[in-house]
Amino acid sequence: MKKIISIMLLMLLTVAAFAQNVTITGNVKSGNDNMPLIGTTIVEKGSTNGTISDIDGNYSVTVPSNATLVFSMVGFETQEISVKGQTTINVILMEDTKNIDEVVVIGYGTAKRSEVTGSISSVAADDITSFNSGNAMNALQSKINGVQISNNGTPGSSPRVIIRGVTTVNGSNPLYVVDGMPVGDNINFLNNEDIESMEVLKDASASAIYGTRASNGVVLITTKKGKKGQAKFQFTANVGISTIGDPDVAKASEYEKVYKTRYTNDKQVPAYNGIDNITDAEGTDWWESTVNKLAVTQNYNLSFSGGTDNFVYSGSFGYYRQESHYNYGWWDKFNGRLNTEYTFNKYVKLGVEFAPKLERWDDTPNLMGAAMSMDPTTAIFRYDWETISNEYSWYSRSNNNQEWNPVASLKRQTAHSNEFGLLMNPYIEIKPLEGLTFRSQFGDNARFRISDAFTPEFFIDNLEQATTSKAERNSQTWNDWNWTNTLNYQKTFADAHNLNVMVGYTMEKFSHYWLTGSREAIPNNNENLWYVSAGTENQLASGSDDFSTLVSYLGRLMYNYKSRYYLTASVRFDGSSKFPEGNKFATFPAVSLAWRVTGEEFMQNQHIFSNLKLRAGWGKVGNQSIDNSAYLSTIGTSYYTVNGQMVTGSQVSSTANTAIQWETVEDYNLGLDMGFLNDRLSATFEIYKKKTSDMLLKEANLLILGYPEWAGQIWTNVGSMEANGWELSLNWKDNVNHDFKYEVGVNISGVKNKAKDLGLSSPILTGGFNGDYIIRNESDAEISRFYGYKTLGLFQNWEDVNSYTDEHGNLLQPNAQPGDLIFDDLNNDGVIDENDKTFIGNAFPKMYMGINLGASYKNWDFSMNFYGTFGNDIFNRTRERYSGSGGQNVWAGTLEDAWHYEGQDTDIPRLSYNDANANYLTVSDWWVENGSYLRCKQLQIGYTFPQRMIKFGTLRVSASAQNLFTITKYSGWDPETAVTGSVTESGIDNVAYPNTRIFMFGVNLNF
């Protein structure tokens, strides 16, 4: 350490010895209005020495006579001026139009930010890579307004993404387009470090150019391209530790007491097996035995770029690995990318993007529920395990419930997959005339996956065994190609009329080939025999191909007059193989207008707005997320049991609707962009309305046709949904002085999703619960709402029970006892029945919020991101763990917390073996909790070493914490995980793998 300090002092002395100091004074003014600029940072380049301008724009700084001064101010272009012996330097800073003239990707082209008339949000590379995740969309949480992103912590899981609410029951994920190539609805395969920018097309006026698949929005991803200049390298390494908390479940002694109390409360003799009066030490901590407290996440990347006048290149190699919190289960990926572009002459340019990848994973088991439920009085291993040769049979059967031994289940995990992929995107650009560009791009995205699984033969108990072993292999290939041809013409007429016209034609094909096979009765469980060929009985094989195609004609006109009045109009004419003759083609038009008010003459002398822009847009987009053969009746293989034997037969597997057509979403958007104080403060407010017509739904066919129920369902255009919402973004950034800069961003949005018409399928009942259902989706109402009984607390004594009658003395809950839930006779008809059910919660939040904080002080930088949802409810099924039903383990403290005396301050019903009052079998508001939360998604602190210490480049180290803390009243494990689910079945907490707290350490080296 002393040595380092000595070297640093020596370096400083060396610098001091080379030049004499001079004091420089001067004044800084705005080039826009010639007004003094307060707060301008004036710093000696390459050092932290500097000052800021005062209220009159004056400054004074002492620097070496050969130094270079850097003048910077938010909203203005930075200037560098060499001192060269001067003692007075006056500077005029010009307004930085980079922000409004920044180029954004808009789909089949680019445009200046100022020309954008639709609702498009952009995220830069730094915002994506600063959050360590296997899927770039996770990094967008909190950073893009109106986009709801929720995920669980399973390695390799992809988030649920909802852009501006849901308008269809057929999924919510947007379309992802990488460098112009549509890649489906999952971008796990992408290396985050390869991403240059992401643009989210939120409204139809922006996304209609993607027509058929844009109803859920479009995410455009642009990968990094080479730049002319010397070869530059960047190496990043991030290593993290994921931690998971212990769920507070009962230990053995409390479990035994709860178990027995459930019987004795019902005046029954406890059917308890195992050690009586067991101590906690004699029991088993199943969580500790099954789930690891720590798991490692790693991410390494080496990238390079450079080029000459004619040739530019960019490439990378990346490796990402995420371990699960089990001894089994992980996901990793190797990514490569090489983007090259060769300019032959001023007419022709050729480029190739080449991105191979390898993803591998062991399926992460879902054993957290079992680890919590397993009877803690049971030992992990059988007492006689040493005498048993089959190691999978060494384990104990639960003493007191039907839960399978989670440690044994973990031991049997053997599902592994490898997926190879190659994304190629060659293109040619020809510019035959000034302003005219023809581009032809042929992309191919091929993936090949092999999945293997082995089920060992084992015997733990008659009810926990596999009587035969089984090996399976599943092979799948996807090959999607896309040929896009566009012709673009840009021209400015009379210095006032700016025109940008694009026409295009695309062809696409999506192919999927699969083959699967299995055999049973492998001679033994030895790992060397975990292959299908080793099986001796019940060989099964099946396989098939499926395809769909799309052909499209598209066009767009962008025009503006003197950068004040903007018009964008687009149309896409899509034809899809998924629809029958006559309905194959559909048109998706869009138009949007904008007025940049601050471009007007009358706004030039005002000092309130630095930017003011009004936008309005309308468009239609489509959805074709249905079966490839929806308009065809198909026959499939089926298996029947005849005399106890399984035989193969055929059956109608789907019924045609020859009149089916596109699902269409019509979208209106109004936006207002504002900038104040030279854009130090910026704000955007938008309101929108999306309405689906001809929504595709599976409806029941006529029973008279005699089809089985499932095959009798046909796709039909009968539904309609609507989403109405608003978004408000506020961003502030400022330099306090030359050392300290900070920024604050707040995104708030709200959306209401409503099913206008669900056709004959209404209501759609989802979320099965003890023969009932939790969620009722019905026409003309919000979707995914919980439907059940209201409760009025607990019966505290027999007087409460006996007095809870109708007006004639008939008991409303004849099986109730003190300590049971009181269900509200909502319609006062004297009977607790289906008619007393009502809506008791809403799964979709009323409001979303993202808060982004950033600051830097000298070489230190700091950032913090929060994401939260508000006004949503969660149906917390983990509350069942207070019941001990089926002998399952309970939450710690249940013995005391469950009602057991009159007047007890608790809402947990009495312990009961029979649960005659159906406390835990009834869908009621007792399960429903406020799911609002605000989570610190990331806190990061970084330090960039001064250039004098790192001569060959720059070095930054960082430490960060993800999911650091959560502010919520929700009593379940993870409110974010709990809100995932399908559009019509959201908000039910079934104990999924939670988002864990991760501590990351990173190094970023540029040279």
Partner: protein, 507 residues
């Protein structure tokens, strides 16, 4: 002037009160301001425990009835009938009709129920309704009830019946005029047992008789019967009896066990003998050994006698086997043979507890998820059979194998309350599908089912037992509708090979 103002203000305030009348905090105005009136149809009832007291009456209040409260602390009752909540508005007239059922575990002699009515402006009125528990509404009942027709072939018969009453039998008589026989009892006990030998003579004829019994409240039991002295008949039903005579009337069902009427005067019994030395008899009546009981002639064990007083039981000396016993009551002969448990077949399609019950396969194989997708996914579920009371998801408790005989499944010590209990054996099914494996009682005997027909959709292919196999021509019921005489634990023992089940109190 100031004084005028004060007077004016005071007048206005007074006028305000005068116009609005009195009102409560909710702003309701009085119409007449009078207290509610409560006119009960009766203010006192006499009950037994377990009976319901019906409080009836008319309540009126011109101001509007807000609520009626009925309260008694001994009954743990404090019920408020909230008229506003139920009807959305008050009523000026309300027909009170409220039932109160004192728990039969209570021992208090009377329950005064205080009825309080409150109107909209806060006036209240009270009345008291007294339920006295000194009533008797339960007639004496038979413990051992003679059959309507009693067939007798011997000149001397032993006539038996027994009666009980919850509060005491004041009087009981049996009279058979043609025999010039009458017996009377006036003891007042809760139980009375009649056992008397009657000499019918050798003449074949009918004798009608009548039993009358009543208690102190004149709750009366009457029974007419006919004793038919005749030659031996070809009885439609014959039972195998393997219990003491007293146990013939303590079962819920299945004791004695009905056997097959295999020919004229010929009966065939199949019976699993669990232990060496089991004593069996054959009786055409199902509640006593007499008056006819086919058992071994004490003078010649190769032959049968019908005399219950003389005959000796047939003793089975092989355990763990099925007996086939064929008897001819006309000839008084019988034969026995045995077969093993393995030779016996039952309809169960798979082993209980095995993961062998398939759901219906359909849909499309999704290689991404590795599962069949469609309306249902294919999977094997545990095969288990139990006592089904509602639907195939509600099958509890589950039957377990008898350790000695895999054809016998049983539930031991199942706690049941007094009253009706409806069920039939059924397999559990995850999706609630019906009739994979199920037995149903013959419709005619569902209150005391004697034969359980297998009506499952899937059966052991080897099963073709003529005694119990499903026959479309035989009408079957749905649930067996058992009468549980008193709360307690009961054993359900079901021989699937024979299609016979007995439900008896646990010992």
């Amino acid at each position: 002037m100031e004084r005028f103002s004060k007077l004016t203000l005071a007048a206005l305030v007074f006028a305000g009160f005068a116009v609005t009348g009195c009102s409560d905090d909710d702003g309701y105005s009085a119409v007449d301001g009078k207290m509610p009136t409560i006119a009960l149809e009766q203010s006192e009832v006499h009950l037994e425990y377990g009976m319901t007291a019906n409080i009836k009456g008319k309540i009126t209040d011109a101001d509007g009835i807000r609520s009626i409260n009925i309260k008694n602390s001994d009954l743990y009752l404090n019920k408020t009938i909230d008229i506003l909540k139920i009807y959305g508005d008050s009523k000026t007239e309300y027909d009170l009709d409220y039932n109160v059922t004192p728990n039969d575990t209570l021992t208090i002699e009377s329950f005064p129920l205080q009825i309080t009515v409150e109107d909209l402006v806060g006036n209240t009125a009270t009345a008291t309704f007294i339920a006295k528990m000194d009533g008797d509404f339960t007639a004496p009942k038979f413990i051992l009830e003679p059959n309507d027709e009693i067939n007798v072939i011997m000149p001397v018969m032993t006539f038996k019946f027994s009666i009980s009453d919850n509060k005491g039998i004041t009087y009981c008589s049996i009279e058979i005029p043609d025999l010039d026989y009458k017996s009377e009892y006036t003891g007042g006990d809760k139980n009375y047992e009649f056992v008397e030998k009657l000499n019918l003579g050798d003449e074949n004829r009918d004798y009608t008789g009548k039993i009358i019994a009543y208690d102190a409240f004149n709750n009366t039991l009457e029974k007419e019967f006919t004793i038919s002295k005749s030659e031996l008949k070809d009885y439609a039903k014959m039972y195998l009896c393997d219990v003491a005579e007293a146990d013939l009337i303590t079962d819920v069902c299945g004791v004695p066990m009905l056997i097959d009427h295999s020919g004229e005067f010929e009966y065939t019994a199949y019976y699993f003998n669990a232990a060496v030395g089991t004593e069996i008899r054959f009786i055409p009546q199902n509640n006593s050994y007499g008056p006819i009981c086919f058992s071994l002639d004490p003078t010649n064990h190769e032959l049968l006698t019908a005399d219950p007083d003389q005959g000796e039981p047939l003793v089975l000396d092989k355990a763990g086997v099925y007996y086939k016993i064929v008897l001819n009551t006309k000839q008084g002969t019988y034969s026995t043979s045995t077969y093993t448990i393995d030779e016996a077949v039952d309809p169960l399609p798979a082993e209980l507890g095995s993961n062998s019950l398939n759901t219906w396969w359909t849909g499309t194989w999704n290689p991404e998820t590795g599962e069949w997708e469609g309306a249902d996914d294919a999977w094997w579920q545990e095969f288990k059979v139990g006592i089904m009371t509602d639907n195939p998801r509600d099958v509890e408790p589950l039957f377990e194998y008898n350790p000695q005989n895999k054809h016998i499944i049983q539930v031991l010590g199942y706690e049941l309350p007094m009253g009706k209990f409806e069920f039939h054996p059924h397999n559990w099914h995850h999706d609630g599908w019906w009739d994979y494996t199920t037995w149903k009682p013959e419709a005619a005997t569902e209150t005391d089912p004697e034969i359980w027909r297998y009506v499952g959709g899937v059966a052991n292919p080897a099963y073709n037992n003529a005694t119990t196999s499903y026959n479309n021509e035989v009408e079957v019921g749905n649930h067996a509708k058992l009468t549980i005489p008193k709360a307690g634990k009961y054993d359900f023992i079901f021989d699937m090979h024979l299609g016979r089940m007995k439900v008896v109190p646990s010992k």
